[in-house]
Symmetry: C2
Subunit: 147 residues, 2 copies
């Protein structure tokens, strides 16, 4: 999937991503990098709202998982089970969310999915502002086989 | 602050809350109840996007903390430090976010703030759909005295 195809997919299927003006810098089954500007995501302090920071991280984590499943031809429903976000620094401009798939955990995930029709995988997204890690989101996803 | 005043405050200062069409059911220094409809918050499965669910929970938790600080005349910058969200059930319609202030922790929080000019408090928001708890957000906030 190209960055253009991923941004269309997100904007068409998750309208919040359009409201946040999320764009896609790179998209592959190994890594997804998203970006969000400050203005539609601002808070009362003039910095980026924590809800927006976590959401762009979740979109990046979900996207890389989605692209990897698509790449391997795994048909499933992918749902989020748990997220944790640490806010480290205020974001006073554009934020970049980078999610890299944990390849060491992938084989176990695929084995579990094949055997049980259900498996979990944790994906982490780093939120960067001006080259510094401003937040970190960890998302635990569950893939459930389509019947 | 009336529900009308809180919804105006949120929509004017956090544009994402307007994009999500968040409304305020009740607002006091003890409890805040917010609501969000499905349509602007939908995901690829036709249920509510996890980013929206967590965000309406965060807005409720932040709001009750903000109203209590205002009620006690505490001038500070209130920032989010960490959030954790558990997703328990899919949300196939409107979601309600209810955040109740932990009064047992408040006295300690206020003492710490008075002594050190900085204090933390954890606020939990329950996300309800059709009377069932569909998700739970726990947010750890930090209040920092204004200089």
């Amino acid at each position: 999937m190209t960055p253009e195809a991923l941004v269309s997919f997100l904007h068409d299927n998750i309208p919040l991503s359009r409201a946040m003006d999320v764009s896609v810098t790179s998209a592959s089954a190994a890594q997804v990098v998203l970006e969000a500007p400050l203005e539609p995501n601002i808070n009362v302090h003039g910095t980026m709202f924590g809800g927006s920071v976590a959401t762009v991280g979740l979109l990046a984590a979900w996207s890389v998982m989605h692209l990897r499943l698509e790449d391997e031809g795994i048909k499933c429903q992918l749902v989020i089970h748990r997220t944790e976000t640490e806010y480290l620094l205020p974001v006073s401009g554009c934020v970049t969310a980078s999610a890299v798939l944990d390849t060491s955990g992938w084989d176990h995930f695929r084995d579990m999915f094949t055997r049980r029709g259900k498996a979990r995988l944790t994906v982490t997204a780093e939120l960067l502002h001006n080259g510094q890690v401003a937040a970190r989101l960890t998302g635990e996803f569950v893939a459930i086989a389509e019947r």
